[in-house]
Each structure stands twice: as C-alpha cells, then as structure tokens.
Symmetry: C2
Subunit: 395 residues, 2 copies
C-alpha cells in the first residue's frame, strides 16, 4: 500500500494571498467605480531589457537550425553563463569562480530542493518574519525548526544566539519581506557562529541588485570565513525581471566540506539525478543580463523600482511611520499606525484609499502589526497611492 | 553540526557514459584518420520545428513589452498549454482534462522529485534494465528497491508477480533502454496488480510519440482502472526535440487517492513550495508542438528517426541478431552476437568499424550481454554504420 509523506500534514495552510485576493475582489465588486492600486505584489512589472530579449530570440533561432541545435544542457549550466556570472561577482569585488556556480530555473527550486542532500535530523534556524519556502520545505522533510526573532528592537535583523545550536541556517538579505539588510559586521557574526558550530548558512541574495549602500554586503562570499560555512542562492527574477523567464544560480565554494563530505559534489550528484539543466534560450537571455549593455538596461529598471521605494519611504518619514527597507530593497516594511493589526490596516487602506498591501502576519508571528508595501508598481500609481495615504493619515 | 544525507553513500557510481567517452576519445587520438559514427547517444539531433521556434520567439518578444510582459507563471503551467496537451490526448482517444495536467521543465525533474510526497518506507519496484533516475532518486530517500527482471525470455517485458508486494512501481513503455513495449493486456495486468495492492504506478511515457502499432497503449490512462492507481509522466524531449528547450508534463487523475490523501493536491503543495513554474517562451513553444502545423512538422522528425530505427532493425534481422525495440521506439536493444559481453562488443565495434553504442550492463544486471543502438543520428551515418556492421559480421 502506498504511504504518503505524513510530514505534509504539519504544514500550516497559508491562505495569505488567497485571502488578499478574496477581500480585494469583493471590494472591486462592491465598488466598481473606485480606482484600486496594488502595492502588495512581489512580482515585477517592467518588461525584459531589449538586449535580453534579443539574446533569447537568437537562442531560439539556434535551436531551429541543425548546425547550431542544442540538446541536453550541462546540469550545472553552460560555461558561457557561469563565466558571465563569475565576472559579475568580480565587478563588485567578490571572487567566485565559474566552476563554483550552478545555474537553475529559479532560486526557489534550489532553496526548496537543497534539503535533499542533508540528513533529516539537522536542526534548522530561520529568522521570523520569513520567506515561507525555508520553513515549508523543512517541515516536509520532518526537520525541527527554530526561529530567530526579527523585531522592531533589532530593526528586523535577528542576530545569532550562542546558546542556540542550529545545524543549517537560512538568511535572506536584503530581506523578504522586511527589506532589512545585514551589514558586514552583522553578517560576519553569523559566519562566525556557523563556523564555530560546523553549521551551514544558506544565504539568499535574491535582492542583492537593489543594494546601493557600501556597508551592505552583496554576497556572503565577501565575508571572511564564508567559504567554509556558506552557500549562496541568487536569482535573476528581481535583478532583471526574470520572474516569468526563470533563471537563477547557486554558489557552492569548491572547498566547502561538511560532515566529511564535499558539498559541491554532493549537490551535483543530486542535480544529475533529478534535474536536466536550464533551457538554452533562457541561459542566453541570462548571459545577456551580465553583458555591459545588459547591465546598463537592467539597472535602469532597478533604478525605477528604487525610486518608487524612495517615494514610499519618504512618505513614511513624512507621516512619522516607522519602517525598514526602502533603501537597499524593493520592499517597505512598516509598522501599522495607531496600533492597528495587520489585517485591520489592510482593510483600512482598502476601504478608504483603495490601496492593496500585504499584512505582515502572513510571514510569521513577528509580522503581526506590520505591513509590506512593494515598489514593483507603476510610478504614477505609487505616487497617487502615497498621496492618498497622506490625505488619509493627516485627516 | 550539519549532517549530510548518508543515503547518498549507497548510490552506485555509474561511470557508463564517462567510460564510453574515455574509450572513444582514446580511440580517436590513436586513429585520427578513422571516421567515427556515434549511435550511442540518447539525445536528439534534428532542430526544433519552424512553427515551434516562431512561437518561442514570439513569447520572448511579449516579455520585452510592458503590455504583454509575463511575471510568475502558474505552478501547474499556463492553461493554454494544458488545454493543448489535453486536446493532444483526445487526438488518440484518451480523456485527460487540462486540470489534471501539470507542466514541468522536463520529465526527469518530476520523476526525480515525486518521491517527496511519499513516505520513505514504501517498497519500490522497478524493472531491470532500468533508467537510473528511478533507482537513484529512491536510494537517496533510503527506500527499499525490488527488481522485476526483463529478460530475453519475456522480451524485456517484466510482468507483475502476485507474491511480490510493492507500494510504488515505475514502468517505462516504450522502454528506455530496451525499446520493448507493454501491450494493452500486459499493461492491464500491471494496473490490476496496483489496484489490488493499493499501490501506485508511475508511468513514464516519454517515448509515446514513437508508437505506431495499434495494440501498444500511448498512455496508461487508456487502461481501465488506471485512474485509481497511476500517474503519467511525459516529455517533449523526444516528441519534439526539446532536450535543450526543457518542457514536460505530469498527469495526475483528479480522483486519485492513496493512503486517504488526494495525490494531485499533495503534489501541488510540493510544487508551490519548491518550484515556480516553467519559462513563458518555453510554454509557448510547447503549445506550438500540439498545434496542427506543429504536429505535422514534429511528426516529420519522428518519422526520420523511426526510419533510422527501421534501417538498424532490418540489419539485425538480416544478420540474425536478436533484438527488442526498433518499431515503436527510437532504441534497438540487441543481444551481443557470439556470446560477447556488453563491453567486449563495444570494443569490437569501436575497433573494427568505428561505431559507438552503449553497453547494456550500464542499465542493470539484465543488460549484461546486451547493447543499445539509437536512431537519433544522421540517416547517412546510420546507413553507413549498418553497412560496416554487415561487412564485419559476414566476414
């Protein structure tokens, strides 16, 4: 008799986005004349850069000609792309060689699947608020999960507690959902903790392209000691608008050895069994992102989102609302004014100024009373939403 | 301290293709003047059909325009593609609804990952010779694996043994590597066995497009009783030359319930945690495969490979060499003549007629003394290789 994985029963159903959609749709139905503005989504809206589209189309054309046709790709990605990513790291002073990079169909796949190579009796540490993938993928494997609290007091930068013994630690900086960033000193403290405990840090750098301040590391590999305790996952989703194109990469230092085992080789064994590489035209598109022209064009899109974030952050400053993010991140994580709860504030914005955001408690217990706005909308709509908010709060 | 998954230590290193490459390269180095012909690869060589390339390029262009830009795709794939696949099933008389289809980045990913939703104490049954993914992915999870022997006596169609109790069964028909096909009666016997044992069949239909004989089912869903015990995995890799484009699909009947759990919902929960959908242009390309013009163009490629297979099979007939496959499959699985071993025959062909094939023992113990040739090469080279073989064997 087939037996299912009973760990799935321990997953907490997260109806956050379904509930948001339901409330929003009900409002639209009851108020067809009101102009709704959505600042809740975590998806990008600007199109791919022209040079990226051209490279992807060229890749498609090559697949249509016998002489340039490509069959099964390398599991770890084409060398031309891995070299481009390695050069990208060099551009901000980090040494990661092309043979330490493994290309994937999006960071979520690797973040979800990386647990395959680790024992089920590792103790996991995540920060709360948290991107749900880290939690759910480990619940599915039956692992024990500890939480490090991100709170108003620590500006949502949870720091290691030497008395807590964890084996695998997930860090995301700039953070989803809080936009908070670990500075070099803070990240060094985590690296030291991991090395002292022979633990692994899985570092999610999906939002690194939004970093503009010098003291915020763009890669954990900048930090001394990281190569003996950390792997890094990054994505082109937010860097270059690849949410629908699907490409990311994982960095595993060649010398990283845990439990007497080389981690690159272990992960490669997993890849070669359960994965067959990334679509050739997608890899061509990804490589174009890292070309000189590609960087210029995609940076324009990031600058657009960052300006939106600035407009939101300045509105919070003006209104005296406490927040994290907004500078090195597309997210603004704000404390609901007047001690409102997350959902209370959601309803308040929806019903009064027709603006949709994301209640913070969907990301963990420390999100209660907090709220996420994103900078991925239109400029015009972002400005209008903030003007409406000012009007509402200054009443 | 991080602990790795020790089950990986139980994986048997398979150096088959590495060993083939090594021997082949040594031969080339020693014999630069000899024209080598490769009939060992399982990868396609013909380019994508023109209508497929055009659709993929159009998808790329849409991503470059704000009004038609696409962000995160649905986890299960776009409805336009799932409907196209559902209609494709209808074209050969099988009812699979669009909401029973889940699009992926290649059947190997789902075949490797499906185990996530099942307990580790299921007993697995695979046929031997076997596609290594079924075995290795279950060794990684620490599951017990039983083998059903495919042999010369049963024409490499292993049948269920009522005394063997398995919980999850992997079947691949047309088979990789043997090219052998289960007919409707044989597949019905497996379905009955699964239903009687409350077991699950994971049916790999990756080569269904090569089937031309009426009695060979193209989908397990043709078989009465399959919807209560089977899921099906298929791929565009061999159907439409998508090995480098990356797209496949899994079919899970909506009513399939095992261990009191709806399997579609369980798998969807896994998908939404560890996957973010397939690249939009790739889904556009896949949908084009199932258009009228797409079917016409891709069928021409399949006809080309099938003619190659026929040329190889007729050569085997002429030489009195026993084989399976070659009719409803791109593979010809032949018994090494003169009681040669698999590697002995490999060396014999390489050194005498400069033809590279695949030693059968790389696919399991029952592959010893057998050899795989594929039809994915050039017509001209296939004919020349067979002429050389005739010359060699008739000496």
């Amino acid at each position: 008799m087939t037996k299912v994985n009973k760990n799935f029963e321990n997953l907490v159903p997260n109806y956050l986005f379904a509930d948001i959609a339901k409330k929003t749709n009900e409002f639209i139905k009851a108020n067809p004349d009101k102009k709704l503005i959505r600042l809740g989504i975590g998806d990008v809206t600007l199109p791919l850069a022209p040079v990226v589209v051209e490279a992807m189309k060229k890749g498609c054309e090559e697949l249509g000609v016998k002489e340039t046709f490509k069959g099964y790709p390398d599991y770890e990605g084409y060398e031309f792309l891995r070299t481009a990513i390695s050069d990208y790291y060099k551009s901000f002073g980090v040494n990661v060689s092309a043979d330490e990079i493994l290309v994937n169909d999006g960071a979520k796949s690797d973040a979800g699947n990386i647990g395959d190579i680790f024992s089920e009796d590792n103790v996991i540490l995540v920060t709360d608020p948290v991107y749900p993938v880290y939690v759910d993928s480990n619940i599915m494997a039956g692992r024990k999960i500890l939480y490090a609290d991100g709170t108003e007091e620590n500006n949502f930068c949870a720091m290691p507690n030497p008395d807590v013994k964890a084996d695998i630690i997930y860090l995301c900086s700039p953070n989803n959902p809080t936009g908070a960033c670990l500075n070099k000193e803070q990240l060094k403290a985590w690296v030291d903790y991991a090395n002292e405990n022979n633990a692994l840090i899985i570092y999610d750098a999906a939002y690194e392209a939004f970093i503009s301040e010098d003291d915020i590391p763009r890669s954990i590999m900048e930090i001394e000691g990281a190569r003996t305790c950390a792997i890094e996952m990054c994505s082109l989703s937010k860097t270059a608008g690849f949410t629908g194109t699907r490409c990311g990469y994982t960095v595993i230092p060649k010398e990283l050895e845990l439990d007497g085992t080389n981690i690159y080789k272990l992960w490669y064994r997993r890849l070669s069994t359960k994965f067959n590489g990334v679509s050739y035209p997608v890899q061509c598109a990804a490589a174009a992102v890292f070309s000189e022209e590609g960087q210029k064009q995609t940076r324009e899109n990031i600058a657009y989102y960052k300006e939106n974030a600035k407009i939101i952050a300045e509105t919070m400053d003006e209104l005296g609302i406490k927040y994290t993010g907004g500078i090195n991140s597309p997210y603004i994580w704000l404390k609901c004014p007047n001690n409102m709860g997350s959902w209370e504030f959601f309803d308040y914005l929806l019903n009064n100024i027709y603006v949709v955001g994301t209640p913070g408690e969907g990301f963990g217990k420390n999100g209660a009373g907090w709220f996420r706005l994103t900078s991925f909308g239109d400029r015009e709509n972002t400005i209008e939403a903030m003007n409406r908010l000012k009007g509402l709060m200054k009443k």
